[in-house]
Symmetry: C3
Subunit: 347 residues, 3 copies
């Protein structure tokens, strides 16, 4: 398993400064690395850790100044380079054995690809399709007509509801639900009547979704998560939402019905979005924000209700001074009163 | 499948203005509708979409003014009328086949109703009862003594814990847990000791609960969700809470222990409630609000901590002006100082 | 089942004032207790309920003043004493039968302890270990190499991913996921590339975790929940976090990657923590707070962003006065202007 540093430089696509013949035994985070291991520095701001690390080699940004007392691999994207090193030292193991477990229940008229794995007690509905090399872990349940592309991984206890569609290379972590009914009720005579949710969910290629996340099917039409988007755990995507391409959404975010999120957005944890709004491409949303109005894109918003991040910082700073300000105001009032009295006396 | 517009008017209970003989091929949202389809306008404020829609007919509020260049069905409750049209074009399909799947495990002394469906790998405990026509999807697990009424739907991977009680026509979406232990611990000597949670959960008739929601059992007594209430995904209901009738709770709301929510409330997404408080009937709670004190009812509250919505809007507006206000205060201080100096000079 | 009050006093370790020979039939909350039952008063502030309760006996704090018209058991820790009474009246019932259900799938080279219970359709991976007397409920799924200690309870539909480690007496409620992949992606050329999450999760002895909670595995190294910590439902613990000993975390809290929470902390519901920060021992965090910076410990913080609780209360109070303050400021401006004009006239 140990690899020569020169080989690691080549695998990661970086430029080595140091002895290529030393052996590296593993990868580790900068503060946990032991002698023999390689670590990385993604960002200049963590440079303070450099002096403390016990790692034997480092992957650093190629524009990082300074001399190092250890061999370094300079890389344009140290995090990506490190990822490649991680893969070399931790080659992926198959989660379960290839093939269809004898206990898996497969419904009528369901089409299965080649080289796939279906685990124990998985239940696949009727008229489904599962692509080549896809891994369906134990306890996964697909409703009738659900479609899954090639090279997907559905972790244990994932539920795909009837008719939902997944592209290729989609990863869904445990307990995530795709296609539960949207939250739609018509109020009549003081009671709520269920609006049948007859739409579906489409998840495009290369999407990864964390555990215990809920993505509701559309009332009519579709809820859609577009290519390359990555979503974390415990997220709520309501009916008829659309999330753009290459967008990242952190844990516990909630997006209300029919809201459209653009491409290349970055959304912080626990943020919430009102329904029926549009958030443009390249928007960054701070954690915990409440986005109640449309956002044009190419901007960062934060706060509750969310506003331009710079404004929010000013408001936050001012709020901090608020108790002091109240005192000052009281003093000013007294000084004005005194002035008024004195001026009266004068007259 | 195509239906005459006149028949749709009759089914939806509306009044048709236009040719009853034209054929309608489906239902769609106003912005997605294609020629041949019918759509609806729930609310005057979406009237701007009217000119753009390609739908061949519309369901509109009966008090909506104006002439339409298309046939319209006027309805007192267009959303409800539309729901009826949706049902006609999308008649519900059975989720799974009737009957008890050969792999379902049914515990001793459990009573099963007639015409029910129990899916593959469902596990029903001992001394349970499941009512007539209820659908228990694959992977659903009922603890000992759990009771489910008639015409319920328990979607895949729902868990009902021991002894919980569901009424009739209850729908629980995937991954939802009813009856997990309440969060109760007694601190003694710096360590937490589990308080046994020996109470239960009662969910009354016509309640629908979304996916991945958690409803804890009571420490003693019961946690109760009352008739007709609708709850969305990823909601937390703590031990000994009570939620009233015909209340709607949006996704990711959290209600702490022993809190009582009234009837006909509307609670926005991600709102949080402190424990041991009472929220009166007909309360509206804004999304993301933190309700820390009792609310008397017949009101709207918002913000963190929640206050009357009108006050919160004033506070929000004022906060926005806060940085400006700090500048003004500084200027006033200078003007006062100048006045004081001048007045001194005069004397 | 009825017990003499004298015996209850002995079991709970309290001092009885009253007739030891009366029979007690059950335990109940103070507002729900019926004649014949015993209840408790944990805290002086609930003393107002004393006059109303129909209970036949009370457990009260030993320093509680006043005469009672009913027998009382005085206790240093009434909540703990009450817990002991609850256990006596509600002795725990086995959740499922002892032994390994015939449908459980056990992978190769997995070691099982004695006297354990494994429920229907549980799937245990290869090379796992499950300790003595542990209860694995139906539908639980363990990935390859997962290790579970003695006397644990894994409720239905819990997922333990490959290689995670649980200590002894760990309780995980339904639908909780331990070891899903951390949310780590390297951005390159506008696309996100998955960083393999090759670390693990370690959960130490006596930890209890609620339902539908997600705990991600570390990128490298481990995510760790330390001894005696209690976590509620729907919580997000990101990769590489560490939560200290004897800490309590309420529902829907989210902790971002690599953050370290100390021992003996109390974290309110829906609070959020930024990544890569340290929160010291004995920290109390108010519900709904956003902890964006390190906290030194032995303190209470609240608000968004979180600050010392006392400061936050001042800010909240000031915010409430903000609309009023804006009006006052306007009046002061007018008075100053008037003063300035008059002073000008004088000159």
């Amino acid at each position: 398993v140990p690899l020569r540093l020169g080989d690691i430089a080549e695998i990661t696509g970086g430029v080595l400064a140091g002895d290529p013949s030393i052996f590296i035994t593993g990868v580790a985070k900068i503060e946990e690395a032991r002698p023999g291991e390689i670590t990385f520095l993604a960002n200049h701001k963590y440079a303070k850790h450099l002096g403390e690390t016990r790692a034997s080699a480092l992957i650093v940004p190629d524009d990082m100044p300074g001399n190092f007392d250890k061999p370094v691999i300079r890389s344009k994207n140290p995090y990506l380079a490190f990822m490649k090193a991680v893969v070399v030292f931790h080659p992926p193991k198959p989660l379960i054995e290839k093939g269809i477990h004898s206990t898996a229940v497969i419904g009528e008229n369901t089409e299965l690809g080649t080289e796939l794995s279906i685990g124990a007690y998985a239940v696949i509905g009727r008229r489904c399709r599962i692509g080549h090399r896809t891994i369906v872990m134990p306890g996964v349940i697909l409703g009738d007509g659900a479609m899954v592309g090639d090279d997907c991984v559905l972790h244990a206890n994932v539920c795909l509801r009837e008719g939902v569609v997944l592209g290729n290379r989609v990863i869904l972590h445990n307990g995530t639900v795709v296609g539960s009914d949207g939250f739609g009720f018509a109020l009549d005579g003081g009671k709520y009547h269920k609006i049948p949710q007859v739409g579906t969910v489409v998840i495009e290629d290369d999407v990864e979704i964390g555990s215990n996340t809920s993505i509701d099917r559309a009332t009519l039409g579709e809820t859609r998560i577009k290519r390359g988007t990555k979503m974390d755990n415990l997220i709520q995507i309501a009916h008829n939402c659309s999330v753009g391409e290459d967008t990242v959404i952190a844990a516990q975010v909630g997006i209300a019905g029919s809201t459209v999120i653009g491409n290349n957005c970055r959304i912080g944890g626990q943020a919430g979005f009102a329904g029926h709004i549009k958030v443009g491409d390249n928007t960054t949303v701070g954690g915990g924000s409440g986005v109640l109005r449309p956002v044009s894109g190419n901007t960062m918003v934060s706060g509750f209700p969310a506003r331009p991040h710079r404004d929010e910082l000013h408001v936050q700073a001012a709020m901090h001074k608020l108790p002091e300000l109240l005192k000052e105001l009281k003093q000013l009032k007294e000084r004005i009163q005194k002035l008024e009295q004195e001026l009266k006396k004068e007259c």
